[in-house]
């Protein structure tokens, strides 16, 4: 669907932040499911093995899906518009002309700040426009924001 557009991928730090989050959520889950499963298996219950394997497979699946979602993010600053691509299962490719930008948000939550990344979000007059680029390195995010703001000012068109 890219049609010859070179998409810039987002920072690997985003992946590290995601993995951290995943680990925070998955480790207790692993402990519960796999730990208890192994414990039960050692105690002589066959079903415990199934439980442990199932838990491990789920965690690996979650990790793979997150990995795919991370890789699916991409953006391109073209001459007249910004292209944002996202989504693994439900893929979306959004094109926003610079002239339509009304507001540019740079946000960073506590976890994102710890990893030195930020999210750049573009707003247009239409609420349905969904152009968000997460996981940009801080200075990249600020550079993109300033660049977009400068272009947007030059090309702004009325409603």
């Amino acid at each position: 669907m890219g049609a010859g557009i070179e998409l810039t991928s987002i920072s690997p730090r985003f992946w590290r932040a995601r993995q951290t989050l995943l680990a925070l959520l998955a480790v207790p889950f692993l402990f519960l499911l796999v730990g208890f499963g192994i414990g039960e298996a050692l105690g002589g219950q066959r079903l415990g093995i199934v439980q442990a394997v199932l838990g491990a497979v789920l965690v690996v699946l979650a990790w793979l899906v997150e990995r795919g979602r991370y890789l699916s993010w991409g953006y391109a600053e073209r001459e007249d518009d910004l292209v944002v691509s996202r989504g693994l299962l439900f893929h979306r490719l959004t094109v926003v002309p610079y002239g339509r930008m009304q507001l540019i948000d740079v946000t960073a939550g506590p976890l994102a700040r710890a990893f030195g990344i930020a999210t750049v979000q573009l707003h247009t007059a239409a609420a349905a426009t969904d152009a968000r680029i997460p996981g940009l390195e801080r200075h990249d995010a600020e550079r993109l924001r300033d660049r977009l703001a400068a272009i947007g000012e030059a090309r702004a068109t009325g409603l």
Partner: protein, 491 residues
């Protein structure tokens, strides 16, 4: 247009003015009426007729409530004032929390006059000012005298265009009307009306066919069916009341809509605010060749307190009309638009997998200026989105769509109601369209749109005629090459 503005309704001098003294009556009209109806009965019987003491207490409580509401409404009226000064319309209101609200006259986009039934009974109307930016639901003068309302309207419009306040409202060319009979027919053919009616008929038929078993079923369901039918009758009556005597005309600054039976509205939809147009053909209208025309307007927010529906901004450009009339009006809103699907605009057969109920209607096509998308299951709705108004484009595909080589393209405008949704296109085609449309939208944004021409026409005309006592503002309409309207189909 009403009578020429008299000096008494000329607030340009910056004098503070009050709203009509009748506004508390209209605002609290329904509540007041309710209390007045209940009060005598309450005093006579009490809550519990067996205990006499109750009567007095009930009477006192009701009277106190009545007094409070009357005092509240009067105070609200007393502390509200407005004036036109320093290029602003200023409205001040509130006793405890004082609010001062100002609208720069140059940012006024439209001025509507709305008169709910209670207001019409006492001869007042609400002036609602639509301006660019937020907080528009507060910019209203509720209520002023009816003739004054129209005078204020024409003055504000003249001032907004940089003319002197005495300039009369520009003439509007009548375009179309909707006869009452056709309106009634169109409402009767709404599927929401027909379904409970058919259910009642079916039930009656079942009863006559097998009186034994069906009679019991009838007993149980008849009441609720009748209630549902009654509700629909009320809804239809409301719609009929709202759209009765619908007239649309074209003025240099936008479309004028006049409608209503008990409650009347006089509204303007400025050309520049129209973001997208939609042609709607309900299933049951199609044999008669009727359609409806809706518009999507930028940043349109419906007020939270829709008291008596007076604040809902019009979104229907034409409630019901034969197809050729609707197409004729559509051509005035979106010149050179082609709203019928050309060959090759339908979706591929395999789209059936994703959209089994709407595949027969799905279609999308585009040209230099517009993106068209038809969707719907029973009701066909064709959205016409001017590419110059496009805010963003999105190409999306889910797992099922990808497996069948399908993708959905969505064009978004600044309107809030509908996007142009090209659902389940061939993935390759949709991908190619994305880049074509983005290029065409860029070209369309740079090319002057017919709407902007029209607005520029008004602006030049007003500059030219700045000091003349009676300028012909309609010059703007002729200057940009658009002919004055002559429609042979006018009723």
């Amino acid at each position: 247009m009403s009578a020429a503005p008299s000096p008494s309704v000329l607030p340009v001098d910056g004098q503070w003015r009050r709203l009509s003294p009748l506004s508390p009556v209209v605002r609290g009209g329904a509540a007041l009426l309710g209390v007045l109806v209940v009060l005598p009965n309450l005093v006579a019987n009490g809550v519990d007729p067996r205990r006499a003491g109750d009567r007095i207490v009930a009477g006192i409580v009701a009277a106190a409530l009545l007094c409070l509401s009357v005092v509240g409404a009067v105070v609200s009226w007393l502390v509200t004032r407005w004036r036109i000064a320093g290029g602003n319309l200023q409205i001040e209101t509130g006793l405890v929390r004082r609010q001062s609200f100002r609208v720069p006259l140059t940012r006024i986009q439209a001025v509507d006059v709305v008169a709910p039934l209670t207001a019409r009974l006492v001869g007042v109307a609400e002036v609602r000012i639509v301006s660019a930016g937020r907080g528009q639901d507060r910019a209203r003068l509720a209520y002023v005298r009816s003739d004054e309302a129209h005078a204020i309207r024409s003055q504000l419009l003249a001032l907004a265009h940089g003319l002197t306040a005495e300039t009369p409202e520009p003439p509007a060319y009548p375009l179309l009307q909707v006869p009452g009979g056709r309106l009634a027919g169109s409402l009767a053919l709404r599927s929401a009306t027909l379904i409970p009616l058919l259910a009642v008929v079916g039930l009656l038929w079942a009863t006559t066919a097998s009186p034994g078993g069906a009679a019991r079923a009838l007993e149980f369901s008849f009441g609720s069916l009748v209630a549902a039918l009654a509700l629909h009758v009320v809804a239809v009556a409301q719609a009929f009341n709202a759209d009765f005597d619908f007239r649309i005309s074209e003025a240099p600054d936008g479309f004028r809509l006049d409608r209503g039976m008990l409650q009347t509205r006089h509204e303007t939809i400025p050309f520049g605010r129209i973001q997208a147009v939609r042609l709607v053909e309900p299933l049951l209208w199609r044999p008669l060749g009727w359609c409806r025309l809706d518009v999507d307007v930028a940043r349109q927010r419906v007020s939270r307190r829709a008291d008596q529906g007076a604040h809902i901004v019009s979104r229907t450009l034409l409630p019901v009309a034969p197809r050729e009339q609707v197409l004729w009006l559509l051509a005035r809103v979106t010149p050179h638009a082609q709203p019928s699907p050309p060959p090759g605009s339908r979706v591929p057969r395999r789209a059936w997998v994703k959209a089994p109920l709407s595949r027969h209607l799905l279609a999308a096509w585009h040209d230099e200026r517009y993106l068209y998308a038809r969707t719907g299951r029973l009701t066909a709705a064709t959205v016409v989105l001017p590419l110059a108004k496009l805010q963003s484009l999105r190409l999306s595909s889910g797992p099922l769509q990808r497996a069948f080589g399908l993708a959905t393209l969505r064009g978004v405008s600044a309107g809030q109601r509908w996007a142009a949704l090209a659902h389940c296109r061939d993935a390759q085609e949709a991908g190619a369209w994305l880049w074509t449309l983005i290029d065409r939208a860029r070209a369309a944004r740079r090319a002057p749109s017919p709407w902007r021409d029209l607005q520029a026409g008004v602006a030049t005309a007003s500059v030219e005629s700045g000091d003349r006592p009676q300028p012909h503002r309609e010059e703007g309409l002729h200057d940009d090459g658009r002919q004055p309207v002559r429609d042979p189909r006018l009723h």
